[in-house]
Amino acid sequence: MLIASSDEQPRRKLLKRFPVPYNAQVPKEFRIQPGKSWPVPDGAKRIKRLNIYRYNPETGEPPRIDTFAIDRDKCGPMLLDALIKIKDEIDPTLTFRRSCREGVCGSCAMNIDGTNWLACIRDLDEIDDPATVYPLNNLDIVRDLVGDQTHAFAQYAAVQPWLEAEPPADGKEHLQTPEQRRELDGYYECILCFCCTSGCPSHWWNGDRFLGPAVLLQAWRFIADSRDEATGKRLDELEDPFRLYRCHTILNCTRTCPKGLNPGKAIAEIKHKMITRQS
């Protein structure tokens, strides 16, 4: 009942999904259909079943859910190990992003058992049987578990995520005390996996104009940076009923961050700066 850190899974799940129709608001040609049930490996004693979202733009078929079964005794411990094993031995067309396999690059972010996390650091013990694997929410799907992140990164570019400052007089570094550097802790570590933004209901409804938790956390990272000289301009750009103020402190973002960061708090800090500069 009491969750202390984002990697904790609840012991009991009352509801697996909100009681809305499974294909609510989906155009007819894209309604998710039941898919293929792949064969269970022979002689396997510990089996894990995975229900995985599949979509192939070349066939013209609607998206579907395929069920795979893997032998846990012949597979690594993490969900990403299972996905790679499926791609190697069962269905080579299964498509997903991956790189570092240690939770630092953000490539394998996906919706696992209803919440967003990195596949490479989600242990197969911690997920249901059958587990459900969907792509990150509310993204246009390129293929299978790969979503189009162009808009998410465009919103990131729009907040100018770089230091804006005149060079110091002596031409050397911008100096910063350890206390000033500590202000960036909890914000600079973001790996831009977009688990938080994909899990934000406000971004689902208004993602075209609301920047979302990941981008706003990075915006705060630069506002909080003592070396940055464009604070006023950054706050002007954020002060908008949609860009910033679609955040209603739902806090799905903080709950889901695989790096344990706190986008909700960063956004509250931005709103606090907005108020303090007015009085």
């Binding site: 909100f18 989906v26 894209f30 979509y55 609607p62 509250a268």
Partner: protein, 129 residues
């Protein structure tokens, strides 16, 4: 790149309800329900002050069994929105964002709302005899 339409990955259809999103939606739902009650409150005040017959009808309606049930749900909505609102005010002061605190205060709000509703109704019924 081709510009053919592509499916959007599911969101509300598959995301797991958590304390965070459920309480936030409850805050919104209770707020909307309270707004409807506020309209009724103004109607009731006007009826009382203008001496119209509708005051009697309103009171009779509210005193009936479905009316009392509605009032009970309305007080529950009121206390939930009040307690969760205070939780929101702390967040606006950038206090209480650690995940453990979010969950602890969330459950406190849920139990306090139910408790305050029951206590208020007990007091009201006892006071009216």
């Amino acid at each position: 790149m081709d510009n053919a339409p592509r499916p959007r990955s599911p969101h509300v259809q598959v995301y797991r309800p958590q304390l965070t999103s459920v309480l936030s939606f409850g805050h919104r739902l209770s707020g909307i329900f309270l707004s409807l009650g506020a309209v009724l409150l103004v109607a009731w005040l006007l009826a009382a002050v203008t001496g119209s017959a509708s005051f009697g009808y309103l009171n009779a309606g509210l005193g009936s069994l479905p009316g009392l049930a509605l009032l009970f749900v309305w007080t529950l909505a009121l206390f939930f929105h009040l307690c969760n609102g205070i939780r929101h005010l702390f967040w606006d002061a950038v206090i209480g964002f650690e995940l453990r605190t979010i969950y602890l205060t969330g459950w406190i709000v849920v139990f306090a709302s139910i408790g305050l509703t029951l206590v208020t109704w007990a007091l009201a019924l006892w006071q009216m005899g």
